[in-house]
C-alpha cells in the first residue's frame, strides 16, 4: 500500500482545524504537524498578496513546501479559509491541474457545508455528506482514462473560525482546514479502472 495523501489547512487569526482527515490513519499525528507547519507558508503567501485585487486574486497557492516524501499544497478562499492538501510525492498522477481542480471541488463542498442552515460557521465540521461528495467529485475530476493512478479517493474539510463579514475580506479572517485523503494507489490489479471504495 502506498502512503496515502493527507491534507488540511488553517487561517490567519485563528488557525484551528475545521476538518482534518487522513487516509490511512497511521501516523496521523505526523500529518497534523505537517499541516500545521505549512501554515507558516500560507501566512506568508497571504501577507504577500496584500489587499490588492481581492476579487481577482488566485485562490490556489500552489505547492507550499517540499518534503522528502510528501508535497503540501495550499488554497485560500477570499474569506481566508484555508485548505491544505498533503499528497505522496511519488504519486505523479497528481499534477498541478489535478490538485487545483480538487481544491475547487473541495471549495464547492465547503460552500455547501456553509449553506447548511444547521451548520454553525466555525464549528469543527462533521459531515459524511462532504466525504461522499468529495468522493464523487473526485470521480468526475478524473475520468477513467486518467484515473488509473487513483482507485479510490475520499476527502474531508476542516475549519477554524469563520467570520460572517466575508465581503470585507479582512485579513483576520477565518480558518478552515480541509484534507484530502486518498486510498491505495496504483496496484496492478486495478490498473485502468476506477472504483470507489
Amino acid at each position: 500500500m502506498a502512503v496515502p495523501l493527507p491534507g488540511d489547512k488553517t487561517v490567519v487569526a485563528q488557525n484551528y482545524p475545521l476538518y482534518i482527515r487522513s487516509v490511512p490513519t497511521e501516523s496521523e499525528l505526523k500529518f497534523h504537524y505537517m499541516v500545521h507547519t505549512s501554515l507558516d507558508v500560507v501566512d506568508e503567501k497571504i501577507s504577500a498578496m496584500g489587499k490588492a485585487l481581492v476579487d481577482q486574486r488566485e485562490l490556489y497557492l500552489g505547492l507550499l513546501y517540499p518534503t522528502e516524501d510528501y508535497k503540501v499544497y495550499g488554497y485560500v478562499t477570499n474569506s481566508k479559509v484555508k485548505f491544505v492538501m498533503v499528497v505522496d510525492s511519488s504519486n505523479t498522477a497528481l499534477r498541478d491541474n489535478e490538485i487545483r481542480s480538487m481544491f475547487r471541488k473541495l471549495h464547492n463542498s465547503y460552500t455547501d457545508v456553509m449553506c447548511n442552515p444547521f451548520y454553525n460557521p466555525g464549528d469543527r465540521i462533521q459531515s459524511r455528506t462532504l466525504v461522499v461528495l468529495g468522493t464523487m467529485t473526485r470521480q468526475k475530476t478524473l475520468p477513467p482514462s486518467q484515473g488509473q493512478a487513483v482507485t479510490a479517493c475520499k476527502w474531508a474539510v476542516l475549519g477554524g473560525t469563520w467570520r460572517r463579514e466575508i465581503s470585507k475580506g479582512d485579513s483576520a479572517g477565518s480558518s478552515f482546514i480541509f484534507s484530502l485523503l486518498q486510498g491505495p494507489t496504483r496496484t496492478p490489479d486495478h490498473k485502468g479502472s476506477v472504483s470507489l471504495a
Binding site: H36, T37, D40, Y65, P121, G122, D123
Partner: protein, 1133 residues
C-alpha cells in the same frame, strides 16, 4: 571506527590550495629567515594567491613515487579512492620546492657557494625522483639589486648558477633583505603560483593519459578514480569550472558502477564525497539552484541504496550526514551573501538530517539489541594493520576484495556484529538534538514559527528519550501555548502527554497536577479510559499518595520516579498549589454572572458561579471562594465544606460540593453592598476553586475575573452564533453555553420616591428675573430627612453661559454678577409622607439662547435590607431647557424737521431722533418709563419727556418716541458724534408689584455732523387760503466767520402772486441773520408749489439750492376760499 566515521574527511572539506614547500630556511635560529617565513604565512588575506606553504629541511624525504605502470592490462584496482590520496596532494607532495640560499652577487667565495647551492638543489631533486615537482632557487641577498642589465657581474653569475643547478632562468629568484620585504615576497609567491599551476596542469595531463589504457570491464573503478583526481587537481589549480565539470562526470561514473551489498557503502561514500564537492563549487559559483538540484538528484539516486539490512542504520546515518553537510554548505553560502527564502533554507536540510538521525536511532534500537552475553568479536574485525582503511568506504575485514561473493561468512558475521555493537555506544539523542536545534535556528530566521515549534516539540521528545526531563519539560512548556492558542488540540494533547510523563518521572508535583488538569479537560483528545486513569492519579496525588506510573515509560526511570514520589509523600507538609487557569484549558470550567448589570443599594447583590467538570468521573471540591476588587465582600462569598480527604470519593453524586461531569452546577451568592460603594463598580477579580484538603495537599484553581480559560472566549463566540436548539433540561438545570458571564456590576443609589415639578412661563426674557417654581412632594412611606435642593444652570455647558446666568432665591432685587449660576445644597428641611413643599427660584439670563437648568433634590431615608438597617441617600433630578429671547427690538433713526431721513445732521440746526420699540415677547410687557440720556455733545431743543410711561405692549406692538435735538458745531469728528443712551425700564405686565423693573439701556448710534455756511428757515403758516394773503418770512443766518455776499431770487409760480424782493444781492455779517419778508397770495387751492427761493453764495459755490430745500418748505396746502356762512357757523360753534 570512530563515532565520527560519517563525517567527511577534512581534506575533502577544505579548499584545495597549491602546495609549495620552502627549504633552506632556519626559522628557529635565523632572524632573517624567520622574517621571510612570517611574510609568507602571516596575514594571508583573500587577495593573496591561494598557496599553502610549509617549511621543510632541505633533505626532507617526499613520498616515494611508484614506478610508472606501462600497461594496465593485468592491473585490477582494489578500490575507488585511497584514503591517503587527497592528503598526499594537499600536504605531502609539493607542486614546487623552493630552495632558499644566502648568496650575494659580490660574494668573494662565489665558486664554493655556487657549488653548495647546486648540491642542495640536487638533494631536493633526488628525493623528488619521478615526480614532476618544480624546483626553484631563491637567493637571499643583503644588498638591494641594481636595475636589471646594469649589474654585469650579477647577470653573469646568475647564468652560471642556473647552469650549475640545471635551472631555467625563470626558476632563479633574488630576495633582497631590505625594508620592502613583504612587497618582494608577494612578487615571489605570484611567481611560485605560476609554477604550481604548471605543475598541476601537467599532473592533469598525466592522469588523462592513463585513460587510453583502461577498459570498461575491469577498470570501472579507475574511471571514477581518475576523473576524481582530474577534478581535484583542477581545484588545486584553482580552475573551479573544470573541476566542477570533472566532478560531475565522476559523479555519473560512480553511479554506473555495479552496485552490490559488498560495495554499496564504498559507492555511497564516494558519491557523497563527489556530491559534496559539486554542491560546494556550485555555491561558490553562486549558482545555488544548481547545488540544490544536484543534491536532490543525489538523494533520489541514493535513497534506496540501503545496502545490508543488518546495517541499515548505517544508511540512515549516511543520509543524515548528506543532509547535514548540505545544510552546512547552504548556511555557509548565506553567510557569504546568498539570500535564502522561507521555503528554501538550510533549516529543511537540518530537519531532514534530524529525521534520518531519528531513523538511525530506531533502526539501531531494532538491530543492535543483542543479549548481554554477546561479546565483541576478537580479534577486532574493525582493526586494520595501519589503523586506517586503504580505500574510502570499504569494510575493514575485507579490504580490497572486489568479489561480490562473501568468501568468509564467519568473518562477515563477526564484522557486522562489531559494527552493530559499536553503534550501541553512539549517543543518538545528542546527534538528533544538535541537528534539530540547528534547524530551529534556521526556521527562526526565515519566519516559520510553527515549524520552529514543531521542531522544538521533537527536541523536547528527544530530551525525554535521553532522560533529560528538565530540558524536555522546558521546551515542551515553551511551545505548548502556541498550539493551545491556535486550537490544535490533537497536537496539544500529544505534547501534554509527553510533558506529563516527564513530570511524573521527576516527581514534579505542580507540573504533574497542571498537565493532568489539562489532559482531563475538554481540549484533550485522550480517550476516556486514559482520562479515568489520569483522574485517579490526580486524586491520589491530592490525597498525598503516589500516582501510578505513566504508560510506556522506561522501567528503570519508573523505579527511580517511584522512589522520588515516596520521598515526596514522607516530606508532605501542607502544600498548596495555586494554578492560574487563564493560560490553559483545565477540566473545570467556571463562569461568574451577576444577576444584573447594576444593583440598587437597598437590595442585596446576587450573583451565580457556574461550574462544569469535563473529567470522566465526578469530582468533589472542598472550597469555592470569590474575590472582589473591594476585598471586604470576600468573606461573604465562600462555600466551604469541612470534609476529610478520604471523603473525596464518597457521596460523589450528592452534596453541593460535588461536580458531576457534563452537568452545570450553579452556586448562588449574595451580599449587601456598602453605602460607600454607591456609584462604584464591583468586580469579581478571581474565583478560586480548591481541590483536595487545605490542611494537606490541595490545588487552587484560580480564574481571573469572571472565569474563562484559554479556550472559553472562542467557545462563547461560537455558541453565540449557533442556531442550534438546545435540548430541554430538567428544571433548575442550565445549558453551559447559554450562560453569559457578567463579572462586574454597578452599585447605584436607591430609587427615589418623590416627585419634583417645575412651573414657569418660557421663554425667559433677557435680563429679567425669570421665575421658576419648584414643587417637591414626598411619596415615601416614612419621613425623609435632610432634603436639599440644588438648582441652577446644569454644569457642563458652555463656560460663557455660567458668567451670563445668575440664580437667586430672592426675586425682589435684581441680581448682579456676584450671584452664582448654580445654587447647591439649599436645605429645605424634612418632609413627611405625602407632604409637599414649594420653592421659588429666580434666574437672570444675560444673553439670548437656550440653557439647560438642573433641579436636583436629595434626601436621606432609613431602610432595612436583609435585617440590616441602612441609611440611604436618594436623589431625584429634573432638567429643563429654557430659551432666552430679547424682550423687544429698538430701532432708532434721525430725521430732519421735515421728517426726511438724514444721513447726517447739520451743526446747530435742529433735527429729530425717533425711537421705535417693537415687542418680541410672547407675554405682554409694561414700559414703566423711558429716558433719553444725551451725550454732552447733544442739546435738546425742548423738554425731553417720556412719551411711553405705563404703556402696555402686546406681542408685535410697537411704541415710538420722537425727540427734537440740536448738535452744536464740533468740528470734523471722525466716525461721528455720540448721541447718548436710550433707557427703557420695563417688566412683565403679569409680574407682581415687588418684582423690580428691568432697565434696558440702548446705546444710540453715532451721527455725523456737518457745518453749513448759511442756514435758511422759513416762518409760514401751516396752510394758506385762496386769495388770502400768506405772509412768509425767511431767515438767512450766516454760520461762518466771514461776511457773506448772498444773491437771493424768487422764481414766480403759477399758483401764487407775491410781493417782496424778487431779486436782491445783500451782504450778511458773521453770526447775524437777515430777514426777508414776502407776501404770497395763493391763486389755486390744493397742495401747491411755493415760489421757489434761490440763494447763491458767492464764496461757497457748493451751497446749492438742493441743500436749501432741506430746510425750507417747497409746497403748502392751500384751502379753497371760505364761505361767509360757514365762517359764521364756525363762529357759532
Amino acid at each position: 571506527m570512530s563515532p565520527t566515521q560519517w563525517d567527511f574527511p577534512v581534506e575533502l572539506c577544505c579548499r584545495p590550495m597549491a602546495f609549495v614547500t620552502l627549504t633552506g630556511l632556519d626559522v628557529v635560529y635565523n632572524a632573517v629567515h624567520r622574517a621571510v617565513w612570517d611574510a609568507f604565512c602571516a596575514n594571508r588575506r583573500a587577495d593573496r594567491v591561494p598557496i599553502s606553504f610549509k617549511v621543510l629541511p632541505g633533505d626532507h624525504e617526499y613520498p616515494k613515487c611508484r614506478p610508472k605502470r606501462t600497461s594496465y592490462e593485468w592491473y585490477i584496482p582494489k578500490g575507488i579512492l585511497k584514503t591517503g590520496w587527497m592528503n598526499k596532494h594537499l600536504n605531502l607532495v609539493p607542486a614546487l620546492v623552493v630552495v632558499f640560499y644566502e648568496l650575494d652577487w659580490d660574494e668573494p667565495q662565489w665558486k664554493e657557494k655556487q657549488s653548495e647551492c647546486a648540491t642542495r638543489v640536487e638533494i631536493v631533486r633526488q628525493s623528488l625522483q619521478g615526480r614532476n615537482t618544480k624546483v626553484a632557487v631563491v637567493l637571499i641577498q643583503k644588498k638591494t639589486p641594481l636595475p636589471p642589465g646594469e649589474d654585469v657581474i650579477a647577470s653573469e653569475r646568475a647564468a652560471a648558477l642556473c647552469n650549475a643547478c640545471e635551472l631555467s632562468g625563470k626558476s632563479l629568484f633574488v630576495l633582497p633583505h631590505t625594508d620592502h620585504l613583504v612587497g618582494y615576497i608577494i612578487r615571489l609567491e605570484n611567481a611560485f603560483y605560476e609554477h604550481a599551476q604548471t605543475y598541476y596542469y601537467t599532473e592533469i595531463r598525466r592522469v588523462k593519459s592513463h585513460k587510453e589504457f583502461l577498459n570498461k570491464t575491469t577498470h570501472q573503478l579507475l574511471f571514477v578514480r581518475h576523473q576524481f583526481k582530474i577534478a581535484f587537481f583542477s581545484e588545486l589549480k584553482q580552475d573551479t569550472q573544470n573541476a566542477l565539470k570533472n566532478y560531475r562526470t565522476a559523479y555519473n561514473l560512480v553511479h554506473e558502477l555495479r552496485a552490490h551489498e559488498t560495495n554499496i557503502l564504498e559507492i555511497k561514500t564516494m558519491a557523497g564525497f563527489i556530491n559534496y564537492k559539486i554542491c560546494r563549487l556550485c555555491f561558490q559559483h553562486n549558482t545555488p539552484l544548481d547545488a540544490i538540484a544536484q543534491f536532490r538528484k543525489h538523494v533520489d539516486l541514493c535513497k534506496k541504496k540501503i545496502g545490508s539490512a543488518e546495517l541499515s542504520f548505517e544508511h540512515a546515518a549516511w543520509m543524515s550526514k548528506q543532509f547535514q553537510a548540505f545544510g552546512d554548505l547552504f548556511d555557509e553560502a548565506i553567510k557569504l551573501g546568498l539570500t535564502a527564502i522561507q521555503t528554501q533554507n538550510p533549516g529543511f536540510y537540518y530537519q531532514q538530517a534530524a529525521y534520518y538521525a531519528q531513523e538511525r536511532k530506531q533502526l539501531a534500537k531494532a538491530l543492535c539489541h543483542h543479549e548481554p552475553s554477546v561479546t565483541y568479536p576478537s580479534p577486532d574485525p574493525l582493526e586494520t594493520q595501519t589503523g586506517v582503511l586503504d580505500f574510502y568506504g570499504q569494510r575493514s575485514w575485507r579490504q580490497g576484495i572486489l568479489s561480490f561473493d562473501l568468501s568468509d561468512p564467519e568473518k562477515e558475521k563477526a564484522g557486522i556484529l562489531a559494527v552493530q555493537l559499536k553503534e550501541r555506544s553512539v549517543v543518538h539523542s545528542e546527534i538528533i538534538i544538535t541537528l534539530l536545534s540547528n534547524a530551529v535556528a534556521q526556521f527562526k530566521k526565515y519566519k516559520c514559527p510553527r515549524m520552529k515549534s514543531h521542531l522544538m516539540v521533537q527536541m523536547g521528545e528527544e530530551y525525554y528519550y535521553a532522560k533529560d526531563y528538565t530540558k524536555a519539560l522546558k521546551l515542551l512548556d515553551y511551545v505548548m501555548c502556541d498550539y493551545r492558542s491556535e486550537g490544535w488540540w490533537t497536537l496539544l494533547t500529544s505534547i501534554l502527554t509527553t510533558a506529563l510523563k516527564c513530570s511524573y518521572l521527576m516527581a514534579q508535583l505542580k507540573d504533574y497536577i497542571t498537565y493532568s488538569l489539562e489532559l482531563l479537560g475538554r481540549a484533550s483528545t485522550l480517550k476516556d479510559d486514559q482520562k479515568s486513569r489520569i483522574e485517579k492519579n490526580l486524586i491520589n496525588v491530592l490525597m498525598n499518595e503516589s500516582p501510578d506510573p505513566e504508560p510506556d515509560c522506561d522501567i528503570l526511570a519508573v523505579k527511580t520516579a517511584q522512589k522520588l514520589w515516596a520521598d515526596r509523600i514522607s516530606l508532605a507538609g501542607s502544600n498548596v498549589f495555586t494554578i492560574g487557569v487563564q493560560d490553559f484549558v483545565p477540566f473545570v470550567q467556571c463562569k461568574a454572572k451577576f444577576h444584573a448589570p447594576s444593583f440598587h443599594v437597598d437590595v442585596p447583590v446576587q450573583f451565580d458561579i457556574y461550574l462544569k467538570a469535563d473529567c470522566p468521573h465526578p469530582i468533589r471540591f472542598s472550597k469555592l471562594c470569590v474575590s472582589f476588587n473591594n476585598q471586604e465582600y470576600n468573606q461573604f462569598c465562600v462555600i466551604e465544606e469541612a470534609s476529610k480527604a478520604s471523603e473525596v470519593l464518597e457521596n460523589l453524586t450528592q452534596g453541593k460540593m460535588c461536580l458531576v461531569p457534563g452537568k452545570t452546577r450553579k452556586f448562588l451568592f449574595k451580599f449587601v453592598a456598602k453605602t460607600e460603594d454607591v456609584g462604584k463598580k464591583i468586580e469579581i477579580t478571581s474565583v478560586d476553586l480548591v481541590l483536595g484538603n487545605e490542611a494537606g495537599r490541595c490545588v487552587v484553581l484560580s480564574w481571573q475575573g469572571g472565569g474563562g480559560d484559554a479556550a472559553s472566549a472562542q467557545e462563547a463566540l461560537q455558541a453565540s452564533r449557533s442556531f442550534k436548539r438546545r435540548p430541554k433540561l430538567a428544571a433548575g438545570e442550565v445549558h453551559w453555553d447559554s450562560v453569559v458571564g457578567q463579572a462586574s456590576t454597578m452599585i447605584i443609589s436607591r430609587v427615589p420616591n418623590i416627585s419634583v415639578h417645575l412651573r414657569h412661563d418660557p421663554p425667559a426674557l433677557t435680563n429679567e428675573m425669570y421665575c421658576l417654581l419648584v414643587t417637591v412632594e414626598s411619596h415615601e412611606k416614612t419621613p425623609i430627612r435632610d432634603v436639599k435642593l440644588t438648582a441652577g444652570l446644569k454644569p457642563g455647558q458652555d463656560a460663557n453661559l455660567t458668567q451670563k446666568t445668575h440664580v437667586t432665591l430672592h426675586g425682589t432685587e435684581l441680581c448682579d454678577e456676584s450671584y452664582p449660576a448654580l445654587l447647591t445644597d439649599i436645605p429645605v428641611g424634612d418632609l413627611h409622607p405625602g407632604e409637599q413643599l414649594e420653592k421659588m427660584l429666580y434666574i437672570r439670563c444675560g444673553t439670548v439662547g437656550s440653557r439647560m437648568f438642573l433641579v436636583y433634590v436629595s434626601y436621606l431615608i432609613n431602610t432595612t435590607i436583609e435585617e440590616k438597617e441602612i441609611i440611604c441617600k436618594c436623589h431625584k433630578d429634573e432638567t429643563v431647557t429654557i430659551e432666552t429671547v430679547f424682550p423687544f427690538d429698538v430701532a432708532v433713526k434721525f430725521v430732519s424737521t421735515k421728517f426726511e431721513h438724514l444721513e447726517r445732521v447739520y451743526a446747530d440746526i435742529p433735527f429729530l431722533l425717533m425711537t421705535d420699540v417693537l415687542s418680541a415677547s410672547p407675554w405682554a410687557l409694561t414700559v414703566i418709563s423711558s429716558e433719553l440720556r444725551l451725550a454732552p455733545s447733544m442739546m435738546p431743543v425742548d423738554q425731553l419727556e417720556s412719551q411711553l410711561d405705563k404703556v402696555v405692549l402686546q406681542t408685535g406692538e410697537s411704541a415710538s418716541e420722537c425727540f427734537c435735538l440740536r448738535c452744536p458745531s464740533t468740528g470734523n469728528v471722525e466716525g461721528g458724534v455720540a448721541t447718548g443712551h436710550y433707557i427703557i425700564s420695563w417688566k412683565r405686565t403679569s409680574a407682581t408689584e415687588n418684582i423690580p423693573a428691568i432697565s434696558t439701556v440702548i446705546t444710540l448710534p453715532h451721527v455725523i455732523v456737518e457745518n453749513i455756511p448759511l442756514h435758511v428757515n422759513a416762518d409760514l403758516p401751516s396752510f394758506g387760503r385762496v386769495r388770502e394773503s400768506l405772509p412768509v418770512k425767511y431767515h438767512l443766518q450766516n454760520k461762518t466767520d466771514l461776511v457773506q455776499d448772498v444773491e437771493v431770487s424768487v422764481e414766480p409760480s403759477d399758483a401764487f402772486m407775491f410781493s417782496g424782493l424778487k431779486q436782491i444781492r445783500l451782504r450778511i455779517l458773521p453770526g447775524t441773520e437777515q430777514e426777508m419778508l414776502y407776501n404770497f397770495y395763493p391763486l389755486m387751492a390744493g397742495y401747491q408749489q411755493l415760489p421757489s427761493l434761490n440763494i447763491n453764495l458767492l464764496r461757497f459755490p457748493n451751497f446749492t439750492n438742493q441743500l436749501l430745500r432741506r430746510f425750507i418748505p417747497t409746497s403748502i396746502f392751500v384751502k379753497p376760499q371760505g364761505r361767509l356762512v360757514d365762517d359764521a357757523s364756525i363762529a357759532a360753534v
